[in-house]
């Protein structure tokens, strides 16, 4: 396995060989790809997500939602951004100016950095890091200190309570989330997100029994549960309803972001939306086959279809899966009531952690007993008298 932690930057370097851009070193291209990730993926998604969220909320409450700015109100998020930039830049005089300024930045850095290892398509990933999944888990931990410090720097009781709640919640739910990622790693034997997605593919050349590895969510009975635990844990990690206790407006005004106004508040909101996207994209890549289409190997058409079109299809498939999960997250917001703090902690430590541990053990035994075959393969093997393992 080659080290391709700078895959995208390496491609850019290769492309520019022999042109006037050839002397530009690799690290400049790495910077360029980082900026592309932030400005072309993370920020537009954050903006459009606010619009989608408001439209979905309006639909579910039988309202119209934003409809004034641009066609169908599509430019509402741009208007919101302009509004936020023109707001008064207020720092609580009793608070801590330095911490107040860096806290929202930590949140945005933590959530945007996760974008780097997300495989949008087979050859479209900013950096397919060897430790991919673990890398995403690591950088998103920056969000917790960001929220905690911002709440403390506000010098406000409600803020501090919200921040402490948020940190306790994120630290607790990190455990079931990490334990629910482990089954996938046990199955695929790799931490690299691109490799995990590739293994969930479909190859028409092979006999069907060798082929039915399929998406990890239906690999064995335990991964079905692990998928749901990861989804619920992701909701809690991103402070979404029904786990939005850090900003419970009926008790804490607005929680950790009470004192934040203007673009600093915007950064918090943006960080949350980007984090939701990263969480859903990770779920789609690990359990729902990422950019893979079922029963179809797009690589087979590599010669007949132009490569740009294939890349577009990959990105489209991946985005559809991810956005469907994002839709479910927004749908839950208008469906479920908020949990109490003790229910939240009880659910994590007494319910999800033991279940997640059981899933890891179960998957380990399954992979050992059936030599890594999925349950579809095992079932086919029963009928055809011994299926071939891959």
């Amino acid at each position: 396995m080659a080290n391709n932690s700078a895959l995208f930057a390496q491609t850019l370097t290769d492309w520019t060989q022999g042109t006037f851009l050839a002397p530009v070193p690799l690290w400049v291209w790495a910077m360029v790809s980082a900026l592309v990730v932030i400005y072309l993926l993370a920020l537009p998604f954050g903006g459009i997500a606010t619009y989608i969220e408001r439209k979905i909320a309006a639909d579910m409450q039988d309202r119209i939602g934003p409809n004034r700015v641009g066609p169908l109100g599509l430019f509402q998020f741009a208007a919101d951004a302009v509004k936020m930039l023109s707001k008064e830049d207020y720092v609580p005089p009793a608070g801590d100016k330095f911490l107040f300024n860096i806290a929202p930045v930590l949140v945005v850095v933590g959530s945007c950095a996760g974008f780097v290892a997300l495989p949008l398509g087979q050859y479209l990933v900013a950096g397919d890091v060897n430790i991919g999944v673990f890398y995403i888990l690591a950088v998103t931990t920056l969000i917790a200190p960001g929220i905690l410090l911002g709440s403390w720097a506000s010098e406000n009781k409600w803020s501090l309570l919200g921040g402490l709640r948020s940190a306790a919640q994120i630290v607790s739910y990190e455990i079931p989330v990490a334990l629910s990622i482990l089954p996938v790693i046990l199955i695929s034997g790799s931490l690299q997100v691109g490799e995990i997605v590739k293994q969930q593919g479909w190859n028409p050349d092979l006999p069907i029994a060798a082929n039915a590895h399929f998406w990890n969510v239906v690999h064995n009975p335990f991964t079905v549960f692990a998928f749901f635990i990861l989804f619920v844990g992701g909701l809690a990690e991103t402070n979404r309803i029904p786990f939005d206790l850090p900003e419970a407006e009926s008790e804490l005004v607005s929680g950790f972001n009470t004192e934040f106004s203007g673009m600093r508040f915007g950064l918090y909101a943006l960080g949350e939306f980007v984090d939701v996207f990263v969480m859903c994209a990770m779920l789609a890549a690990l359990y729902l086959g990422g950019w893979q289409l079922p029963f179809l190997e797009l690589d087979k058409f590599w010669i007949t279809l132009p490569s740009g079109l294939i890349a577009l299809i990959h990105v489209g498939v991946f985005l559809v899966k991810t956005l469907l999960l994002v839709f479910v997250v927004m749908w839950l917001r208008w469906t479920l009531p908020r949990l109490r703090v003790d229910q939240l902690m009880g659910l994590c430590w007494k319910g999800m952690v033991p279940l997640a541990l059981f899933n890891v053990l179960g998957t380990a035994i399954w992979v050992w007993a059936f030599k890594g075959q999925s349950m579809i393969q095992v079932a086919m093997g029963l009928f055809s008298g011994g299926g071939s393992s891959h």
């Binding site: 396995m1 080290n3 932690s5 070193p25 690799l26 690290w27 400049v28 801590d96 330095f98 911490l99 890091v129 060897n130 430790i131 673990f134 890398y135 888990l137 690591a138 950088v139 931990t141 920056l142 917790a144 200190p145 905690l148 410090l149 403390w152 501090l160 402490l164 940190a167 306790a168 630290v171 990190e174 931490l191």
Partner: protein, 173 residues
């Protein structure tokens, strides 16, 4: 190593040492905790460029996501802790501090000379090859193969600590 990587490495070193300095001399204990976070991040970047990507991510998960949060919690939940000026109580520890610092010098010297010998022994092209090779699989195999006994011993220790923490925190009835 290209100049760009050298520059990033230099920035990481400045971040690590500079933040560590702020941790040591800043009288506000909360600022010390915050700059400890930046120092940990700088160390993670250096691990990354030494080819230890798994170690770098572990550093961030354990120290930034775990230890720093724990320290921040402890400071915020202890009354008046963050108003305490650490300089007030610092002066009486000067003699033990100097003794400790003098004792550290031979240890550091030993470690650095060993390191210099190792760097001289390894040819630079071998070094970059090593730094670029993925090592996570080897770490996993070592932990569950040749080093399985210490690994299991640590898990039992951690389980004991967890059970002990639950026992301490249970309500007295």
């Amino acid at each position: 190593m290209s100049n760009g990587i050298k520059l990033i490495l230099l920035l990481a070193e400045i971040l690590t040492v500079g933040s560590a300095l702020v941790v040591a001399v800043n009288p506000n204990i909360l600022y010390s905790a915050v700059f400890l976070l930046f120092s940990f991040l700088g160390v993670a970047v250096m691990f990354l460029f030494a080819g230890a990507d798994f170690l770098a991510a572990t550093q961030v998960v354990v120290y930034v996501g775990g230890v720093t949060i724990l320290i921040l919690f402890a400071i915020m939940l202890t009354q008046w802790m963050y108003r305490l000026k650490l300089r007030d109580v610092g002066s009486k520890f000067i003699v033990p501090a100097v003794v400790l610092a003098l004792g550290l010098v031979p240890m550091l010297h030993r470690g650095l000379t060993d390191l210099a010998r190792m760097v001289k022994a390894a040819p630079p092209e071998k070094m970059s090859e090593f730094a670029a090779s993925p090592k996570t699989m080897e770490i996993g195999k070592a932990l569950l193969g040749s080093h399985v006994l210490p690994f299991e011993a640590i898990t039992i220790l951690l389980l004991g600590a967890l059970v002990g923490a639950v026992w301490l925190a249970r309500p007295k009835s």
